[in-house]
Symmetry: none
Subunit: 192 residues, 4 copies
């Protein structure tokens, strides 16, 4: 499938360095055919983004609407995001490197924001039910939380952090432990 091929190629060479012909070759088709399905190279990238980001959003939303307490919801969100590295590393590579901060992405800003808003709501709910400290700015916290997760993915993408099964599991634990419990002694938190 063309999108899968595109993800593999973008992951390997980066969007700008990938040629349309590379994608076509990887997909086993003539490059012209790509233009039957996509109007341009950029549209391919945007489609990759849209399809997968909306999946992410759905997963997050499912978590948000579950009956779990907010603390566990944050843990579940972390798990979804970090597990995606094990499951679809190329996709993560592309989402992290090419899409998330590209200047070309102005059209998708709303979709990006939606993910942060979900996290923010979970935090706010935790503040409302008394399990989270109310004085923290929930919006900023949602960005910090997401950033921490994404940086772990980045570390794996760049080969700077070990990414065995154990390490990934440990990372999940660390993120929640850290962000929810804090570094300082006082704030220890039970494993999720």
């Amino acid at each position: 499938m063309i999108l899968d091929a595109a993800v593999r190629v973008f992951a390997t060479k980066g969007y700008h360095t990938s040629r349309v012909g590379d994608i076509a070759e990887e997909a086993g088709i003539a490059h012209g055919l790509l233009y039957h399905y996509f109007g341009s190279k950029e549209e391919v990238l945007q489609t990759v983004f849209r399809e997968n980001w909306s999946q992410l959003l759905e997963a997050f939303t499912r978590i948000e609407t579950s009956d779990d307490p907010p603390l566990e919801q944050l843990g579940a969100i972390a798990k979804v995001l970090l597990r995606s590295w094990r499951d679809q590393p190329d996709l993560v590579r592309v989402m992290v490197r090419e899409v998330a901060r590209s200047p070309q992405l102005h059209g998708q800003v709303d979709e990006i924001r939606a993910v942060f808003v979900v996290i923010q709501r979970v935090i706010e709910r935790g503040q409302a039910d008394g399990s989270f400290r109310p004085e923290v700015d929930a919006r900023l916290a949602s960005w910090i939380f997401y950033g921490g997760l994404e940086e772990l993915l980045t570390g794996w993408v760049l080969g700077q952090l070990p990414d065995g099964d154990q390490e990934v599991a440990r990372a999940e634990q660390t993120v929640v432990d850290l962000l929810c419990g804090g570094l300082t002694r006082a704030g220890a938190v039970a494993p999720v």
Copy 2:
């Protein structure tokens, strides 16, 4: 100066979309002259990176070698990174978007790592002196910490987070409060 012009152009259009002629025009010189000072377009980007990243590293190192307690050192690191947005937004834009995850930067991996290592050592020192919880993986924590900071920068770069003076100050406070104190009630921490 050529590098300043390059930063402005890269910040606006992204590295790949910027033409050498754009940089030259912004710098008020003929594009041929750029090749007297830099061997290639990529060398310009790398120079931007090197000069500024090493400045960042120096600042972090100064903080690390101060006599402040680890908790305050983390706060100082956050302040340096986040204040840079107010001082040199274009530069931050470039560092965040183009450099930090670009495949072009394989040569600079060591320099990038150095920054994380500083953070990691601060955390480890805090664990050693008893102010930080020892069970947290310091390496992962350093990435998460940096990621949280970078995502705030990203939010400002993308125009998704308000970036007035007050908000930037508030963000500094939130990062440290959150990462050090945790979200949950038990772990409150005094303002730095």
Copy 3:
């Protein structure tokens, strides 16, 4: 019908700028089907040309072989050509713009010439029977005559000349008055 669709499309966008898919879409068929009926895009154009040009030639020939005096025959020829604009403007557009001078039409030169030859013979007959001035080169005159008519069509095609019913009728009158008035010994000529 495919040819009609082709004429409409060629008239609107010009031959070279028209895609086979445009013609097919206009005809309401899949583009592949077009190749059951025509060997190539160019063959479509040539067929348009051949079918209509031969009709024109027939009409001219009918006029030539009528019993009318040469002067009236020229008027009838002008009327046929100019009226075609009212009846089939798209077709005229194509014939005028694409066909008459296209390098693609080298095979059809003979057919094109035939039309001029008819006009030339009418003129020669008029010179023979004394109604036209004998010193005029009949061959050149036939081209000038045809050119005058075609330029009126061009004016209409380009939207530079008013093309209401009255104006078209007036144009017929003017052409004959002008061109034949110059041919006839005395100058002025009665309306045809």
Copy 4:
């Protein structure tokens, strides 16, 4: 010079069939250089048109503002146009085949019209001074006149009419004799 090369190439192969590389090769430059001077292939064609059409317009205007009687002015206009074939056949080929009736030419409509207006004014002046028949529509007549001339050029371009020096001179004479003979009161007209 690039424009000259373009004219030669367009004249030989037609605009759409000519590749940018053909023009560059004919001009003895790399094709990229063409884009220093022209934004696109179409701009090359438009420049060819504009530069030469405005020259034509100047020539016509000079004739119009001379002291010669209208009849002689028409003769001079015919001479300029027809002589251009001898002087710059490739240019005429391009102007006649590619430019004058191209759908791409919507921007230049005003410039085209200006030429016709000059002719029209000459005719009107002839009607005013009594040398031309007043009942003829001067505007239509200008189009017919120009069309007759252009068709002669077309005949030469297509190789359908003999174009030796003598024949060109003869054609000039015939056009005026024919078209002006019809305009003048009495019919016959002295050679110009």
